[in-house]
C-alpha cells in the first residue's frame, strides 16, 4: 500500500467517525502500517514476521474529549466529560510547506530469515573467539519499516515513513559471579550492524566486569563514549523541552546565559537525514524545523511547539512541530526528535584519547543516571579504561562519574566524529567527548 491509499483510508475513517459523532466533534485519525522481522537465538532459533496495522483516534468536542487506539479498523474512543481538551491543530497551523532531503535505506528489503539468524550466530561465535568462555544469553535483532498517515476533520494531512533496526544482546563470561552485560543499539537498517564490532564491545564489557579495578577518587580528564555522553544528555533532555523546566537551564547557565564552551552547540534537528527517525512533520502534522537550543555555548531556547505561543512571544522565539508519536498507542507528546551535541573541533576518537594524558576512557553506562537539578549535579555509573600516556593501563569497573552541571559543558575540550543516537522518547545523541575536571569515584 502506498501513502496515497493509506491517506484516503484515514480520511474515510475520519469522515465515518465524524458522521457517527456530534457535528461539533473534531476528529483526527492516525493510521500506521508496519512490517518487521524479529530474530532471536534463545531458547531456540526463531523468526517472527509481524504485519502491524495500528490506528489512533483523537476526538475533541465541546465538553468532552477522548483518545482511542487499537489494531484493525478505527473505532470511536470512549469520551469523558469535563476532560481537558485534546486540542487538535488547525489546517492553518500545518500549512507551511516543508520537505525533507532523500533518506537512505527506506526502501531496502528487510533482513531475510537466513541473514538475521546468521548475523546473530556470527556475533555468538565471534564473542567466543574474543573472550573464551563467554556466551550470548539472549540475542534479539529486529528489522522493521513502517508507513504512517494523519488525516483530520480540519483537513490536516501528513505522512511518515520510517525504517529502524534494533539490537538487544545479553552476554555472560566464563564465571557467572560477575554477572551479565547488556548491549542495545539502533540503526536505520539492520545491515549496518557489524557483528565483529558488536562482539568486541560485548567482550570488552565482560572483560571489564571480570577483571576491572575500582577507580580511586580523583578529579581528572576523561573521554566519554557516545553512549555515556548521550546518557548524560538524555537525563538533561527534560529541561530543554517546553517552557516548564526552562528556568532550571537558565539557573545552571548563570546570569550570562553561558551553557558551555564557545565551540559547543546543542541542536534538535528533525530533518537530520543521517539520524534514526527524520521527519518533516510531527505526529500532529505540524511542520518541524531545526532548533538550536545552545548556540556556540550560549543558551538560546527550549524546544517550543503548539501551546507554547505565550512563552515564545516574549523573546520572539520560533515554534516548531515537536509533538511526536512514539507509538500508535501513545498520544502525541512534546519531545526532542534528534537532540545532539555538536563541537566545532571534531577529531578522531584516538586523537581524543591521545590528548587525555592521564585519565579515563569511559565506554559504557552500567546503571541508571542520578540527577539533582537544584543542586546542579548528575551521577553516572560507568565502566571503561584507565589511560596513561595514550595507553590503557587498567580496566575500570564500578566507577561513578559525578558531573557538576554548571561546569561540565564549560570543560569540554573536544569531540569525536562518531555521533551516535540512542532512541528513547526521541533520539538523543552525542559524539565522544573529551572533558576535563570530572570527578571519578568508586561505588
Amino acid at each position: 500500500m502506498d501513502t496515497g491509499d493509506l491517506l484516503e483510508e484515514a480520511a474515510a475513517a475520519t469522515a465515518r467517525l465524524q458522521s457517527a459523532a456530534s457535528t461539533t466533534s473534531r476528529i483526527e485519525t492516525y493510521l500506521k502500517k508496519g512490517r518487521s522481522r524479529t530474530f532471536s537465538l534463545e531458547p531456540a532459533a526463531s523468526v517472527v514476521h509481524s504485519d502491524e496495522l495500528g490506528w489512533a483516534v483523537r476526538v475533541h468536542a465541546e465538553r468532552e474529549a477522548g483518545f482511542g487506539c487499537g489494531s484493525g479498523t478505527p473505532r470511536m474512543p470512549a469520551l469523558s466529560a469535563g476532560a481537558a481538551p485534546l486540542a487538535l491543530p488547525t489546517l492553518e497551523e500545518t500549512q507551511a510547506r516543508v520537505s525533507l532531503p532523500p533518506v537512505r535505506d527506506l526502501d531496502a528489503p528487510l533482513l531475510s530469515e537466513g541473514e538475521g539468524l546468521a548475523w546473530l550466530r556470527s556475533v555468538a561465535e565471534r564473542l567466543k573467539d574474543e573472550l573464551p568462555g563467554a556466551r550470548l544469553l539472549r540475542g534479539v535483532l529486529e528489522d522493521g519499516a513502517s508507513l504512517g498517515v494523519v488525516a483530520s476533520s480540519e483537513g490536516v494531512t501528513a505522512s511518515y515513513r520510517h525504517r529502524v533496526a534494533t539490537l538487544k544482546l545479553e552476554a555472560v563470561g566464563a564465571d557467572p559471579q560477575y554477572g551479565g552485560v547488556f548491549l542495545a543499539a539502533s540503526a536505520r537498517s539492520a545491515r549496518s550492524f557489524v557483528a565483529s564490532s558488536v562482539a568486541r564491545r560485548l567482550a570488552d564489557r565482560l572483560a571489564i566486569a571480570e577483571s576491572g579495578i575500582s577507580p580511586e577518587a580523583s578529579t581528572c580528564r576523561a573521554v566519554l563514549s557516545p553512549e555515556v555522553a548521550a546518557a548524560v544528555l538524555e537525563s538533561l533532555a527534560p529541561i530543554f523541552v517546553g517552557p516548564e523546566h526552562w528556568s532550571i537551564a537558565r539557573s545552571l547557565a548563570g546570569s550570562e546565559a553561558r551553557w558551555g564552551v564557545s565551540e559547543l552547540s546543542l541542536i534538535d534537528d528533525p530533518h537530520l537525514t543521517e539520524g534514526l527517525l527524520p521527519q518533516a512533520r510531527d505526529g500532529e502534522g505540524v511542520p518541524t524545523q531545526r532548533t538550536v537550543l545552545v548556540d556556540r555555548g550560549r543558551l538560546r531556547q527550549p524546544i517550543l511547539g503548539r501551546g507554547d505561543e505565550e512563552f515564545a512571544e516574549v523573546d520572539g522565539l520560533p515554534l516548531s512541530g515537536c509533538r511526536y508519536r512514539h507509538s500508535y498507542r501513545a498520544l502525541p507528546e512534546a519531545s526532542p526528535s534528534h537532540l545532539f551535541l555538536r563541537h566545532e573541533r571534531a577529531a578522531s576518537v584516538s586523537q581524543l584519547v591521545g590528548e587525555l594524558g592521564g585519565g579515563y576512557y569511559f565506554i559504557d553506562v552500567t546503571g541508571p543516571v542520578r540527577r539533582h537539578f537544584s543542586e546542579g549535579w548528575l551521577e553516572v555509573p560507568v565502566c571503561g579504561f584507565q589511560v596513561r600516556g595514550q595507553r590503557a593501563t587498567a580496566q575500570v569497573r564500578g566507577a561513578r562519574l559525578r558531573l557538576d552541571l554548571r561546569h561540565v559543558f564549560h570543560s569540554i575540550l573536544g569531540a569525536g566524529r562518531d555521533l551516535r543516537f540512542r532512541p528513547r522518547r526521541g533520539c538523543i545523541g552525542s559524539p565522544s567527548l573529551l572533558v576535563e575536571g570530572v570527578e571519578v569515584a568508586p561505588g
Binding site: 531456540a44 526463531s46 483518545f67 482511542g68 474512543p77 469523558s80
Partner: protein, 439 residues
C-alpha cells in the same frame, strides 16, 4: 470491529498439516485486548482496543511465527504461508461461524466502578488527613484469548482486572487489583497514605534484623525469588534445569504453589497462552524445589517438565515460561501475634520494585520505607531501603508464615521485554537477620 467468527476446529485442521515429525507442533493464538485509562487530573479517557493473531510452527529446533493485527481469512492465509515457509499444497479451511462469536471486544470499559474510583480514593485519602498533591491513574484491562493447535482446540480464556498508578510525594507506586470495590479503595488509600509518610523520612541503613513483610511486599518478594528463579528458561541459562529439582532453596516454613486456576475469579485461567491446561504446580514443598515453571517448548525439550505455564504479553511476543498466580501455604499464627513477637525489627508493607539478577541469582527489592518495631510495637518510620542478597539467602531467612493469606497483585512483571500481570495469594512473612541499605 468484531472478534473473528471463525471455526477453531477448522483452524486446528489447517495447522495440523504443518508439523512433520515428533516434537514438532503448530498453534494459532487469537486475542482481543481492551484497556481503558482514566486519570483524575482532568485528562481525557484513553482506550485501546486490539485484535489479532499469531501462528507458530516449531520444527527442527527452530520456531517460525507470523503475527497479524486483524483477523480475516486473507490475513490467516498469508500468515500460514509465512510459517509454512512454502506455498502449502493443502487447501486451507477457514470457516467463519454464522452469528456466533468466539469471544470479542468487551464494551463498557468506562464502567461506574472505574469512573468513580478516583473520587472514592480522594475521599478516602481525605478521611486519613492526606492533604498532599498526588496524581492517580486507573486502568481497566480486559483480554480474551483462544488457542487452536495442530492437536486440539482450546476454550476462550478471559481476564479482567484493574491497575493503578500513583505519583505520590516520595515517588511512584503502582499495583494490580482484581476489582475496584469500596474495600479495595480503602486499602489503597491506607497504603498510599503510608507511602507518602515515608517521603519525610531519611533513607535508612538497616543492620541485620528481623524483617516482617506484609502480604503485598511478600508477593513481590516471592515472585522474584521463587517464581523467576524456578522459570525453566532462567535455570537453563546456567545449565541443566533439572538439577534444581529437590534442592533446598528456601526455609522449610515455605510451601509455594503456582496455580492459575485459584487466581482471583476475574483473572482465573484453565489453560495458558499456548492452550495447554494449567496445573497446580508445587514449586516449593517445605522449602525444597518440587516442580519448575515450564511452557510447551521446554516441556518438549526437557524430560519430566509439565507444560501449562506458557505466557505472552500479546501476539507479537513468543510465549515463555512464566508464573501466573503464586499461592503460599499460610501458617497458623495471626500477623498481629507475629508482629508482637518481634523484639526489634522492621515491618515492610510494600515494595515498589523487585528484580532478580538471573545470572548471579541475586534478588533486589526496593521499599519506599518501613515501620520500626520495638518490643512488638510500632515505634517509628524509616525512609527508602533496599534489600539485596542472593535469593536463596532471603528465602532461607523466612522463619515464620502468618495465617492472613491475601489475594494481591504482585505487579507488572517485566522479563525479556514482556510486561505481564502477576498475581499472588500471600500471607505476612517473618524473615530473620536480613539487612538493607538506602537507595
Amino acid at each position: 470491529m468484531t472478534f473473528p467468527r471463525f471455526e477453531p476446529s477448522a483452524v486446528a485442521r489447517a495447522l495440523g498439516y504443518l508439523p512433520e515429525g515428533p516434537g514438532e507442533f503448530a498453534d494459532g493464538y487469537f486475542e482481543t485486548l481492551t484497556e481503558t485509562r482514566l486519570g483524575e487530573d482532568g485528562y481525557a479517557a484513553r482506550s485501546r482496543a486490539e485484535e489479532g493473531f499469531s501462528l507458530r510452527l516449531t520444527s527442527s529446533g527452530s520456531t517460525y511465527v507470523a503475527t497479524r493485527d486483524s483477523c480475516s481469512e486473507a490475513d490467516f492465509r498469508s500468515a500460514y504461508r509465512q510459517v509454512a515457509r512454502t506455498l502449502p499444497n493443502t487447501p486451507l479451511v477457514w470457516r467463519e461461524r454464522e452469528g456466533r462469536e468466539v469471544g470479542g471486544f468487551e464494551e463498557g470499559g468506562l464502567s461506574e466502578e472505574l469512573t468513580s474510583a478516583p473520587r472514592r480514593l480522594r475521599r478516602r485519602l481525605g478521611e486519613r488527613g492526606f492533604g498532599l498533591r498526588y496524581r492517580a491513574t486507573f486502568l481497566r484491562h480486559h483480554r480474551e484469548v483462544l488457542v487452536a493447535a495442530s492437536e486440539f482446540c482450546g476454550r476462550v480464556q478471559r481476564e479482567t482486572f484493574y491497575s493503578v498508578e500513583l505519583e505520590l510525594p516520595g515517588g511512584f507506586w503502582g499495583t494490580l487489583l482484581p476489582s475496584l470495590g469500596e474495600g479495595v479503595t480503602e486499602s489503597l488509600a491506607d497504603l498510599a497514605a503510608e507511602f507518602a509518610r515515608y517521603a519525610e523520612c531519611r533513607p535508612a541503613v538497616v543492620p541485620p534484623t528481623t524483617v516482617v513483610l506484609g502480604p503485598q511486599a511478600a508477593a513481590v518478594f516471592l515472585h522474584e525469588a521463587v517464581a523467576h528463579t524456578l522459570e525453566v528458561d532462567t535455570l537453563a541459562a546456567s545449565g541443566d534445569p533439572r538439577a534444581a529439582l529437590g534442592m533446598a532453596l528456601a526455609s522449610p516454613a515455605l510451601t509455594v504453589f503456582d496455580d492459575p486456576e485459584t487466581a482471583p475469579r476475574a483473572v482465573r485461567r484453565t489453560s495458558d497462552d499456548e492452550g495447554m491446561p494449567v496445573v497446580r504446580r508445587c514449586l516449593l514443598r517445605r522449602g525444597a524445589v518440587e516442580q519448575l515453571i515450564a511452557d510447551r517448548f521446554w516441556a518438549e525439550k526437557v524430560d519430566g517438565l509439565i507444560p501449562g505455564a506458557g505466557r505472552r504479553a500479546d501476539r507479537s511476543y513468543l510465549p515463555g515460561p512464566r508464573s501466573y498466580h503464586l499461592e503460599v501455604m499460610p501458617g497458623e499464627e495471626s500477623p498481629q501475634r507475629l508482629l508482637s513477637s518481634v523484639a526489634e525489627g522492621i515491618y515492610v508493607p510494600l515494595f515498589v520494585k523487585g528484580q532478580l539478577d538471573s545470572v548471579r541469582g541475586t534478588c533486589r527489592l526496593d521499599a519506599p520505607g518501613a515501620l520500626q518495631i520495638q518490643n512488638g510495637e510500632i515505634s517509628g518510620r524509616l525512609g527508602r531501603c533496599r534489600f539485596q542478597a542472593p535469593a536463596a539467602d532471603l528465602l532461607g531467612a523466612v522463619a515464620e508464615v502468618a495465617s492472613d493469606a491475601q489475594v494481591t497483585g504482585a505487579g507488572w512483571c517485566a522479563k525479556s521485554d514482556q510486561r505481564l500481570p502477576v498475581w499472588a495469594t500471600t500471607p505476612t512473612l517473618l524473615l530473620d537477620a536480613v539487612s538493607a541499605r538506602p537507595w
